[in-house]
């Protein structure tokens, strides 16, 4: 089942002489449960693509359809609610809230929606991520790898259908990045979620079900299994 689809998705920055085509006519289909790696050199448009797919930016033209909803037909406010419920984000620099504990950071998306916290699920999630003993620690008391694990927990707290990760291991050493990627994949596999990861790490990319390669805003390779 196709969970995410783009139609001639394009993004242009600037005008006239300073015009930059960050993404040109991207047509992608991603199925439920797929693990997709987006690769390409710096400045090739990877992050632009990910931000557009996740509703963090607005395209110059084209559509992004997630679970049947054209997300850019929504108003700014609706889009932010949509993001909260439908997609999870993991960033290179974790973006945790420093005054909240690990557990509070994880449950934040639920609290924002005044939704009852499914304690069993959150506990299970923290178990997989190895955070049970650290749930009352604040971000500055955690290592980089642990902080990224907390942000994985936050991304999965609302049981989103898609998780987007922008260089999730870009700030970690090789030992920690291996662990973080394995935990991320274990969690999305367990809850049958779709995972889209931007990465420079060819090792990570080689394990994906689909590899999308971008160069100069154009999708040059879209190789998938399913």
């Amino acid at each position: 089942m196709i969970t995410l689809k783009t139609e001639n998705l394009s993004k242009t920055y600037g005008k006239g002489d300073t015009k930059v085509d960050a993404l040109i006519d991207a047509n992608i289909e991603i199925k439920q449960g797929e693990f997709v790696a987006v690769v390409g050199p710096s400045g090739s448009g990877k992050s632009t693509l990910l931000h557009l797919l996740g509703g963090l930016d607005r395209p110059t033209s084209g559509k992004v359809i997630i679970d049947g909803t054209d997300i850019y037909s929504l108003s700014e406010k609706e889009l932010s609610i949509f993001r909260r419920r439908k997609v999870g984000f993991i960033f290179q620099f974790y973006n945790l809230i420093p005054v909240l504990s690990a557990e509070e950071n994880i449950t934040l998306p639920l609290l924002l929606d005044r939704k009852k916290v499914d304690k069993l699920y959150i506990d299970e999630l923290m178990g997989i991520l190895g955070l049970r003993e650290r749930k009352n620690h604040f971000p500055n008391q955690l290592s980089g790898g642990q902080q990224q694990r907390v942000s994985i927990g936050r991304a999965l707290a609302y049981k989103p259908s898609i998780v987007f990760a922008d260089e999730p291991t870009g700030n970690l050493d090789s030992k920690n990045s291996k662990e973080v990627m394995e935990l991320l994949r274990l969690s999305v596999q367990k809850y049958n979620q779709t995972l889209v990861v931007i990465t420079h790490d060819l090792d990570i990319a080689s394990q994906a079900d689909r590899i999308i390669a971008i160069e100069d805003g154009l999708i040059v390779k879209n190789l998938g299994v399913r």
Partner: protein, 418 residues
Amino acid sequence: MKNKTSAMKRSRELAIWAAMIISAISIILAAWAGIRLSYTKLSSDLIARNIEVIGGLVSAHPELEENIVNAFVKEPTAEEKNIGHSYAQKYGYSTSMPLKYEPIMDRHYKHILILCLAIVGTGFAILILLHYFYNKLIQRRVQLVAEAAERIVEGDFSSKLPEANEGEFAKLTHQFNQMSRILEANIESSKSERIFLKNIISDISHQLKTPLSSLKIFNELLMDSEMDKGTQVQFYEKSEQQLERMEWLIKNLLKMARLEAGAIDLHKEQRSLEDTLRKVLEGFEERLEEKQLKLDTCIKEDISFSYDEEWLSEALSNILKNAIEHSFVDGIVEVRVSETPVILRIEISDTGEGISEEDLLHVFKRFYKGKNSIDRSGTGIGLALAKAIVESHGGLISARSKEGQGSTFTIVFPKGIV
């Protein structure tokens, strides 16, 4: 379009709420103003009458002017009150007289009654009207959900309810859409399962047909008695090989089918991973020697977790078998077990021919054989079975490879779920 209508619905709901609050406040204000106005009028009417009485009495008895006025503006003594009552009683004028005999009070009573009824009546009318509109709004929403449910019953999953809003209704529509998506996914997966079943049946029959037809030919040849003893033995040996292949295939297909159908209870027990691995590796000594492969192990001791030994051994054996099969003679097979505070990891690597980038995407698919791989005894089921076993233990299996240099298979288990 959809978002516009949902925004409109939202503002309509707000408008009804605002109207309710505003009308409630204005009703209270109107009641207060009306009652105050009526009583002011009543009070001025009473004073006017008193003044008329003063006028009448003073003109009749000018010498009593001070007494008469004082009687109206000063508090009377108890004695004066009693005398008043007894004099008035004589003319039938008392406090228990019916309302209608007091013209001022009677007139005002009617006014105030009408005023109160009017205020309460309008209040009720407004609230009923607003309640009606509010109900209608909710009804329309419920209808929306009912219609969507009907479409789903008819098998149309295309339309989604507006869900990107705050509030309980949006949470309902969100969960509704979620439900519809899961239903759709289930239907789709059962459809693809049917296609898969069709494919698997044709695959199995194909896989079994080849050894079966070989066996048939061998059998026919063996029936020809003119064959010398040596050739006969050769054919018997070949037959045995084919029989073994068929047996292995049938056994593993059954295992996989049972595992995937969830018809197996894993007998998970806390065990030493090292012991299990050593046992598995023992079984491969002969084959390693045959190919002159060096076995390199780096197994962290005292790692124990809860797993089903028989099944996990099966998975590990299949990966090892694959590694040995694809190794060049004189190569190295490496088995490493390591752990971090959150996960434990088993890595099995070889220095064999490796897997191409494209094949790597399919390496765990059932019956998938590499595009360029020469058919050995491989059936394309061993790794698929390994994946099914690892995943049923809540683990993750992945493969990395460089063509010409070898492959590494990694199994990861999270320690947090047992």
